[in-house]
């Protein structure tokens, strides 16, 4: 499986966890909105992964080191 597909699935998985937790919290009368917002915000990131060369991980950029 290509790296970007793995990353996309992972981001989608984390988004769904947050949305699931938010739903469970709201259904039980607790504040679930912050987790819901995070879940929704992650969805476009899953779509963006691998589509724009500017949003790649450090390794994919050739392992640049910014350490002093």
């Amino acid at each position: 499986m290509p790296q970007h597909t793995r990353q996309r699935f992972f981001i989608l998985f984390v988004a769904l966890i947050n949305l699931g937790l938010a739903t469970a919290l709201i259904a039980n009368g607790h504040a679930g909105i912050p987790l819901g917002v995070i879940g929704i915000a992650l969805l476009p990131l899953a779509w963006l992964t691998g589509r724009n060369p500017a949003v790649a991980t450090g390794d994919q950029q050739g392992g640049d080191s910014y350490a002093a």
Partner: protein, 311 residues
Amino acid sequence: MQLDAVVLFFVLGLAAGILKVRLPFPGGLYQTLTLFLLLAIGLKGGAALAEHASLRIVQESLLVVGFGVVLPLLAFPLLRYVGGLNRVNAAAIAAHYGSVSVATYAVAVAVLDAAGVAYEPYFPLFVVLLEIPAIIVGLVLAKGLSAGLASRQLAHETLLSPGIVLMVGGLLIGAFAGDSLTKISPFFMDLFQGALALFLLKMGLITTEQLGALKQDGPFLTAFGIFMPLLAGGLGALLGHGLGLSVGGITLLAVLGASASYIAVPAAMRVALPQANATLSMAASLGITFPFNVLAGIPLYLLLAQWLHGS
């Protein structure tokens, strides 16, 4: 909806950072507040330790250290095989997530105090214990078993970092000072919440600076910075429940698991793995995980603890 006053200071810092407001926050004040908080947490823990010292705490401490070893081992394969990071960067970030954030711990304590939730008072001991194992595991993951703490400079950075010295020093002073501690408690205990609020205002500003790095370095790290606290927080809560801790204790162990270091570990990694990209680790731990824990994680871990405890 009511938010904790201390947390709102963090939100104010975030807002000021996003709006690019130039708040005149002196660097020396930030360092003073860090020193104050580390000492105050150590002193509180030391006083509690003197009162509650027992074999049970030793057993709990060993399990907490084991927990600190397991966390980077969970983070590393995710970073390496899902994130596609190279071995050194994956190990460095894993070390950050195995260690703890004292600021997140302080916020959790403030939230518990405000909610009137009791917790085991010797928790600062666990904060100190959880700082170190992840650094060693991170090194082993990056360099193999032979690396260890072979370098004298690294051993110094790891075991005698300013954060650890101040917290352990505070613990020892608190443990051995006895009643004379009351002489300094108006300064260290009564002013704690105010100092934490100011500290968090600065943390909000720093967080917005770190978010910029994530624009370049990846949606994956953003998701990782949210997933890891949920996983480690859940495991910490289960461990706390298994140890028979109170609701507050389970919450705090979840917070310790969920938080990622941005003071002690970066200093150690600069010495141990200079080729690691420090921006990636800091952006994830400070730009994503810290605000996640402060704004959404801590209330979630408290609810989880209440659910596990059946209250």
